[in-house]
Symmetry: C4
Subunit: 194 residues, 4 copies
């Protein structure tokens, strides 16, 4: 019961985050190609963040599916994650509107790191409440390996932003690809009851 409402609330917040982000794609005054071309970086950053948030929703969905009993800790770790996710539209807009300049790209990478850390905290809190669930532990272990790799790549992307923002951008795409390619083992483990 409580879990259903937590899921529903999180879904609501994530749905709003993913959608208000598009408001940064401001309708241009003129009706010509040049105005549209100037929006390309904003569009690219929107696309990237859309995929990231979709991945978060997807993982969050599987993660909460495993929860059997809620605790205040899980509730607040979840809010912590939602807080950092809610800053993505801002970071996305700043990066896009400034055509991927170093500082906004670095900030984006820092925020992605903070989101990743918040997600790891949520995972650890859930794990601590479900010590006896073997399947959950296996799934977690696999996800956490991916999580740590993502954090490492984001950290490199922060530094790279001052060398070449293109490299940072490619690193962002790499992380997204890493999560998008389905992990057969997790699917098998999760799929048993979803």
């Amino acid at each position: 019961m409580g879990k259903t409402r937590l899921e529903a609330f999180s879904d609501g917040v994530i749905a709003i985050i993913i959608t208000i982000m598009v408001l940064e794609l401001k309708v241009p005054e003129g009706a010509n190609w040049k105005e549209l071309q100037q929006l390309v970086p904003v569009f690219m950053s929107y696309l990237l963040s859309f995929i990231y948030i979709a991945i978060y929703w997807n993982n969050h969905h599987h993660l909460l599916h495993l929860v059997k009993h809620l605790s205040a800790g899980i509730m607040w770790s979840n809010f912590n994650l939602l807080f950092w996710l809610s800053l993505i539209p801002f970071a996305t807009g700043w990066m896009g509107e400034n055509h991927f300049e170093p500082l906004p790209v670095a900030l984006y990478a820092v925020l992605m790191n903070l989101c990743g850390i918040a997600y790891t905290i949520l995972q650890k809190t859930i794990e601590a409440c479900h010590r006896d669930d073997v399947r959950l532990k296996e799934i977690m272990a696999r996800q956490q390996r991916k999580g740590i790799m993502s954090l490492l790549i984001y950290t490199i992307a922060v530094a790279m932003a001052y060398v070449s923002t293109l490299i940072s951008g490619l690193l962002f795409v790499t992380v997204a690809a890493m999560w998008l390619i389905p992990d057969k083992k997790i699917e098998r483990l999760v799929g048993k009851d979803s």
Copy 2:
């Protein structure tokens, strides 16, 4: 379980898309008729997109109703659809604020095509997961005929935008009407358990 949450999330995103679109109807400074008249094209484009999104919601609703088991493919095809739908407020605002000039009208038609293709991909992905469901196949077949016709009409509307945006507009209305007129056969097929 997983399906319910996917439906709820999609509904959330679609509800937000349909509603933030109205934010393009910017409150005018003055309180006279002239200011209100200038909003007529924005209003017309809002009305058109509202109907389109309502049709998408309606079809999406029936489509997901048929799903029996979720897969990563269905999840991501659904996100793909939501992504293109999320661009409708932008395209709508651009078309309305520029009083239906050729380029924005053409872009709107292109976006509608992309949404339609994304919907078709989602249909095909669901079909691939439910090969043995005869009723689903019949419903799909009928919907796909409509879908292909819509794509054709949108493609004509792109070209027509540079001849006469009025014709493009009428083509948009035609597609909407085609989907609004209830398909008795589908209703009978779907109605059995909804």
Copy 3:
């Protein structure tokens, strides 16, 4: 099943409408009393519309509770209602920002009429699908009397806007009060299974 999703979708749209309306309360530049005082009309119009939308949600909630089988007609009548409701933030903002000048007040009254008519159409459509439900008919009859009175008062408010917007304002409050005062008879009829 289908009904639950229709309710959830409507709730989502109404929740967004009621909340984005507050975005018209634009954060003023300065930090003094004068800036705050200028927002009083916007605040008043927000309060009025908040109450109206809350009443609509409440009635909509009871109305859909009575629905036993969905039809395409109910689906589209519901979208029709949501469309007119979605224009309330615009009309509210225009009325508030122009400090209750005649034209915006008249437009607000016209919109309220359109919302009321859309609600009546939804009622009639539901009635047509549930001809054999006696209790539903009784509840509907009572609500429709209130509905017709509301439409009459709104129509007077349109005309009054050009005489005295204060009178129109009082008429708006009157309608709200009429719906807020609980109707014991309906409560008894509805209460049996909610």
Copy 4:
């Protein structure tokens, strides 16, 4: 049934409130540190309000969990609470953008008081409908003690805004901390069936 929809609607509104607040974090034009630094007060006020709304959601969640039968009174007390909560993004933005000047800080404290009072009214209304539920009474009594203390502290914060806004800020943090520290007794009382 009715309760589920009331919860869902409230969750929707709260999710939107917590998320549109981030829109006050306006994307700056330039891509340098100075622009980012100027956003620090807006960010701080966002963080504070995010925590407050999360606490409200959390308490609201527990409160409605105890409700067994809905009444018109509960419905409207709930709308009253949502109305005041919906003003938080405005007050937050005004406080942040004016770098915590006295008047906006005082207004924020007044609004927090109004939200607290609205919550207390909702509690009392629920209590009045569930006179025979002993466990509910115990939980309520504990929460109301905290509630009254919060109202007192907010009232002091209003006055303190004209002495030192730092003190008001610390008082806000104090209230948040008071609610964040889990109340073991309530958890035990609530935990039995959630």
